[in-house]
């Protein structure tokens, strides 16, 4: 059997192609406002058509993995927050669960439910930023302001709970840092009621079913399911291509198997499945599903007796020798941690599989043959956060 097919490097192959005398190399970024951070993309263009693309990352590299080797396990949490700064709750939840799995810590159902509430609120907030900035990328300013206004209310809830608005250090190994304050459930209910009745329908009217939005995106950046799986696109990017896979259903954690919600998949209503439109549509519908999960979780919290959220927090986190790979469904896709412990208080090795990093690795395939203006639409639809790509 052939070991594997040979992969051709488009970029270098085209450099030696004598027929392409009209090509121009166009540099985009790293300070381009639509690259969502500091991303630089080199484009080989022929007129307005992109013949090959080459992304350059690493401008935001902060040696997360090296830092982890030099601090203890609770000390990793603030660094993990700073990877995907739009969805910090998801990052720390993943790391906390990874360490708990290696230590064999089982947290109480109350803590699990609190974590689910936080993770889903964060998912709504994160998707609001994703869709909001996306509309701004492609030229609509108002939805961005509306969505940031709504996200602000979720950040207020986070601030009320743990004091921080962006980087929370909320999920700890074995628990969470603060219990929910009195009145939190009611305030969250009010927020969700507003979300269901006003924000979500408005979002659909203003953006998703907007004729301009649909026409602009329904045929742009089409990603086949095979390419998505081979390049490890996950989360809304994978589901946008029509693959109904969600870790909250497939390998549940935090008791997600007990919640009733649907896995949203791109339908291709207006064009081929897997387009930029589908990826955004999935994000918006996922916000509604998150709201459903939140309603159920709040129902449970109301009936549940409060438990000590620090009950299982170990005095010294010292996992046994061994290794574990654990994934969670973060707002941007599957966030994986590979953790190797040598029985010390510091991790021996932490590797983060960032969903944005793998999504970006498919970029040169998707960008080939596109118009230059569509590159902006493509980058935004993958919903990358450079802090997580570069770590």
């Amino acid at each position: 059997m052939a070991a594997s097919e040979t992969v051709v490097n488009d970029w270098d192959a085209r450099a030696n192609d004598a027929d392409d005398m009209d090509e121009m190399v166009l540099n985009m970024g790293p300070q381009h406002p639509a690259t969502h951070g500091v991303l630089r993309v080199e484009l080989r263009t022929d007129g307005e058509i992109v013949k090959a693309a080459r992304p350059h990352i690493g401008y935001l590299h902060r040696c997360f993995e090296k830092h982890c080797e030099n601090v203890d396990y609770p000390g990793v949490m603030p660094y993990a927050d700073r990877m995907d700064y739009c969805a910090a709750m998801g990052n720390t939840l993943g790391f906390a669960l990874t360490v708990e799995k290696l230590c064999g810590i089982q947290v109480s159902p109350y803590v699990d439910t609190v974590r689910v509430v936080m993770a889903e609120l964060q998912r709504i907030a994160s998707h609001a930023v994703a869709v909001g900035t996306y509309t701004m990328d492609i030229g609509a300013f108002t939805p961005f302001l509306h969505l940031l206004r709504d996200r602000e209310k979720i950040l207020d809830l986070f601030e009320w709970t743990c004091g921080a608005r962006l980087l929370y250090n909320y999920n700890w190994v074995g628990g969470v840092s603060h219990d929910l304050p009195d009145g939190f459930i009611r305030a969250t209910r009010d927020l969700l009621r507003e979300f269901d009745a006003v924000t979500y329908p408005e979002l659909l009217d203003l953006i998703i079913h907007n004729r301009i939005f649909v026409k602009r995106l329904a045929h742009v950046g089409v990603c086949s399911p095979e390419l998505a799986i081979s390049h490890d696109l996950t989360g809304p990017n994978l589901r946008g291509s029509g693959v109904a896979r969600d870790l909250r259903k497939d390998t549940p954690y935090c008791g997600y198997e007990t919640y009733d919600f649907e896995v949203c998949v791109g339908q291709g209503q207006y064009g081929p499945k897997g387009s930029c439109f589908d990826r955004n549509w999935v994000r918006v519908v996922e916000m509604r599903e998150s709201s459903r999960i939140l309603h159920q979780a709040l129902d449970r919290l109301e009936k549940m007796e409060k438990a000590d959220v620090h009950e299982k927090v170990p005095k010294r986190v010292k996992p046994p020798k061994g290794e574990v790979y654990f994934r969670t469904e973060a707002p941007r896709g599957q966030l994986g941690y590979y953790l190797v412990s040598d029985g010390n208080i510091n991790p021996y090795r932490v590797k983060v599989k960032s969903p944005c990093f793998t999504a970006m690795s498919a970029f040169h395939h998707l960008a080939k043959g596109m118009m230059i203006a569509d590159i902006i639409a493509l980058i935004g639809s993958l919903d990358i956060v450079l802090g997580e790509i570069d770590r």
Partner: protein, 191 residues
């Protein structure tokens, strides 16, 4: 399939090239001889029983204290068809480490392998685009190796504060922002 069955399938197909396995615990793995990894990877994806169509993660790990000292490349596989996971490991020597690439099997390996080369110095033979990815192109060395020492200079800038800076700071002088002041020594003024 459970990890034991996956391991048995691999042993039945490849025999001695599967040199070891650890099937207990939360993440079971098999060790593969390094020259065979590309064939094993292609088989893992193509075999309908295994159907590992997704490479979840590819990581390097450095073990300088093992005998003999070694580095590992760890491939975490996932099957969207059967929803099972498994891991393959390859042992490479710390001097002149090289592993065949698997980017022909899983597209995402292209970037993961570049990262592994960037941070560990493991060369992936046959890779189409072996460049640094996270660190600058002119960076020297591979920082995630356990014996890494920070260089004194990078592009003419002090990476660490100099002794002179430390002395001036200890004498009470405010230099930049304390220990984070990375400005190069001003030779003109010092001399």
């Amino acid at each position: 399939m459970d990890p034991r069955a996956i391991h048995e399938t691999l042993v039945a197909k490849f025999g001695d090239t599967i040199t070891g396995a650890f099937l207990e615990g939360p993440s079971p793995f098999a060790v593969v001889a390094k020259d065979a990894i590309a064939e094993v990877a292609a088989f893992c994806k193509a075999s309908p029983d295994l159907a590992f169509d997704n490479l979840m993660c590819l990581s390097g790990v450095d073990y300088p204290k093992e005998t003999p000292p070694r580095m590992e490349v760890v491939y975490h596989l996932y099957s969207y068809t059967h929803l099972h996971t498994f891991a393959l490991k390859v042992h490479v020597p710390r001097e002149g480490p090289a592993v065949p690439t698997v980017e022909g099997t899983w597209g995402v390996a292209n970037w993961h392998e570049r990262e592994c080369w960037d941070l560990f110095g493991i060369v992936f033979t046959g890779h189409s685009d072996m460049r640094r990815i996270l660190l600058p192109d002119d960076w020297e060395g591979h920082p995630l190796r356990r014996d890494w020492q920070d260089p004194e200079y990078y592009n003419g800038l002090h990476v660490k504060p100099t002794v002179q800076m430390a002395e001036r700071a200890l004498a009470g002088e405010v230099i930049g922002v304390g220990p984070f002041d990375f400005t190069p020594a001003n030779r003109h003024v010092d001399e």
